[in-house]
């Protein structure tokens, strides 16, 4: 019996039995379910009601626009209007269709010397488009009034509405919540379980069996991965069927979101391993873990686009890994991007992964 065991010992079999046990335990753990599924759903509902997405109106000028025109100067004095720069004319129209900018305008003088203001808005963002139209026509009217006193040319406003998909709040909020639930599960869940297995000597008892250390980590991580990705499936499906979340290419988009979630989760495990290593006891875990998750919760575009933050803060947002997960999830779900299209975001997450695991290897404790 022992001989047979010696020859055929399978680390994979040992690992899978640990994953299976760990999954059973996770399913019985109410806090895991609350954190992974209930919290994100509550946030989706709450934020879905209190905010209709962005707070500012974002517009862009078509290339070739006469930037010295007095109308533009007047527009720039309006606080709630943001000017998006560095986009090609083609990209502007794409962004407009997606509702990521609310209006595109061009202002040019025609042969008669009149300023022609051409306004393009989108059905993807009808409310803000309309508000901007009112704002703009007000400015044009005032200017016309002022100009009428002199013999200056008239300013004419023309409007054009482009077709667009409706980008709902849920399309912004859900990917953010999904990203954040992956982050918190990776950080809190991993940190708690490894710390508690270490402190209660469960892991030491495992060491007395032939399973190798690495397979203990793999087995435990695999179960958390399965559990968290299952939660993601539930969140996306509830979002889709109950809140009208957009899965632009249906099942392909769904699959891409889950694949991206797996990649992100593996990266975020690194945070969890580090926290489990540096926390002295269970009470220290939330303090350290919050230090990692809270700034990302607030700054990584979970609730608001990072373009809403003051400019000095935006570089901070652009460093955080969750920013790239959230961004990539939105590109996949709403714009139908594939994993290859978001390779830039994935690359930055992987760089984080390399750094985190390099630190984790140094601080992780077995005893």
């Amino acid at each position: 019996m022992n001989l047979e065991m010696n020859d055929n010992y399978s680390q994979i079999r040992a690992m899978l039995s640990l994953s299976k046990a760990s999954l059973k335990a996770l399913r019985r753990n109410p806090s895991a379910i609350i954190f992974n599924i209930l919290f994100p759903l509550i946030f989706i509902i709450v934020f879905g009601f209190i905010s209709e997405g962005r707070f500012s109106i974002e517009i862009a000028f078509m290339p070739g626009t006469d930037m010295n025109n007095v109308i533009i100067k007047n527009l720039k004095s309006v606080n709630s209007v943001k000017f998006i720069e560095n986009l090609s004319g083609e990209d502007m129209l794409i962004e407009l269709e997606r509702g990521r900018i609310d209006a595109v305008i061009s202002i040019n003088k025609n042969a008669d010397g009149n300023s022609i203001v051409l306004l393009k808005t989108s059905k993807a963002s009808p409310e803000r488009g309309n508000v901007f139209k009112l704002l703009l026509s007000d400015i044009v009217d005032k200017q016309n009034l002022a100009d009428s006193k002199t013999e200056f040319p008239k300013n004419v406003l023309k409007e054009e509405i482009v077709e667009g998909r409706k980008f709902r709040t849920i399309d912004f909020i859900l990917p953010g919540q999904l990203g954040f639930s992956l982050l918190s599960s990776g950080v809190f869940g991993t940190a708690f379980i490894f710390l508690s297995l270490r402190q209660t000597l469960v892991i030491k008892r495992f060491f007395a069996t032939p399973v190798k250390k690495m397979y203990i980590i793999l087995g435990e991580s695999l179960s958390r991965l399965v559990f968290t990705i299952s939660s993601s499936v539930i969140i996306i499906l509830i979002g889709y069927f109950v809140f009208g979340f957009t899965l632009i290419n249906g099942i392909v988009t769904f699959g891409n979101m889950l694949l991206l979630s797996v990649i992100a989760m593996i990266v975020f495990f690194g945070f969890g391993f580090i926290v489990s290593g540096i926390a002295k006891n269970e009470a220290a875990v939330p303090a350290i873990a919050n230090l990692i998750t809270l700034p990302q919760f607030l700054l990584a575009g979970t609730f608001f686009p990072i373009s809403n933050f003051p400019e000095w803060l935006q570089p901070v947002s652009r460093v955080l890994p969750l920013t790239y997960l959230n961004g990539a999830l939105r590109k996949i779900s709403f714009e139908g991007a594939g994993l290859f299209d978001v390779k830039g975001d994935i690359f930055i997450m992987l760089i984080w992964g390399v750094v985190l695991y390099a630190v984790a290897v140094r601080v992780f404790k077995w005893e």
């Binding site: 010696n6 899978l16 297995l197 060491f207 399973v211």
Partner: protein, 254 residues
């Protein structure tokens, strides 16, 4: 059969910085015996045990378990030993039968959880969680996990510490039964009554050194031959006998 060595400790030393926890000890354990390592707290019992269990690196010396060296054959050793740790916990939120399945997987063996729980009289607790067991039941479950891989030798670290007299006697019976089934038992304790009743041979360890190794009987006879006498003549019963006589031998786990 009795003289076949299963465990050999040769000049074993363990140092933690300045502290020498185990100081050049040597002894053998024979196949099929119950060997007890006795000593006060901090004498080096647990450290010695954990080195034999491949859970701790030694500073020098050699330990052979069934001919396998703890330096080179750690994984082979783990397959043929059973380990019960002092105050070890078990995976949270799992039932006993699920924990048995987990360990079966970790040892790569097929077991029937009910049957193996039956050995330690816990089949009725198969659907309970470890944390809901009584002290005696916890220790019995701990010992149960050492049997999953049908080991040649099991290591028990202070198996009866903290148990009431009924539960201690119950555990002694269990340990004797395991030995009857052919498994060698190596245990630590600081209860002399336990060693006297349970162990075929004992080694007394203090400040990291083994002072003496022999059967309990021989050790007591030697002392008497040296002219030792108890100050007060012992009565034919003690307070524990009174306690058990009044409260019965029945287990009070539930």
């Amino acid at each position: 059969m009795k003289d076949e060595i299963i465990l050999s400790v040769i000049n074993l030393t363990k140092k933690y910085n300045d502290l020498t926890a185990v100081d050049g000890i040597s002894f053998d354990v024979y196949k099929g015996e119950i060997f007890g390592l006795l000593g006060p707290n901090g004498a080096g019992k647990t450290t010695t045990l954990e080195i034999m269990e491949t859970l701790r690196e030694k500073t020098s010396g050699e330990v052979l378990v069934d001919g396998l060296s703890v330096d080179k054959d750690q994984n082979q050793i783990k397959k043929i030993i059973g380990v019960q740790l002092q105050s070890a916990g078990y995976y949270p939120n799992l039932h006993l039968n699920e924990l048995i399945e987990l360990f079966s997987g970790l040892y790569n063996v097929k077991t029937d959880p009910k049957e193996i729980l039956g050995i330690v009289d816990l089949q009725e607790k198969a659907e309970s969680k470890y944390k809901d067991l009584s002290g005696g039941q916890k220790q019995r479950f701990s010992i149960c996990t050492t049997l999953i891989n049908t080991p040649k030798i099991i290591f028990l670290d202070e198996p009866t510490t903290g148990l009431d007299p009924q539960a201690r006697r119950n555990l002694w019976e269990l340990i004797k039964q395991i030995r009857e089934n052919g498994t060698t038992v190596m245990l630590t304790t600081h209860y002399m009554d336990e060693a006297e009743i349970l162990c075929d041979r004992v080694g007394i360890i203090d400040k990291g050194k083994i002072i003496i190794i022999d059967t309990p009987d021989n050790l007591i006879d030697d002392l008497i031959n040296k002219g030792f006498e108890r100050k007060k003549q012992i009565k034919t019963a003690n307070l524990e006998d009174v306690f058990l006589n009044l409260t019965g031998h029945e287990l009070r786990d539930e």
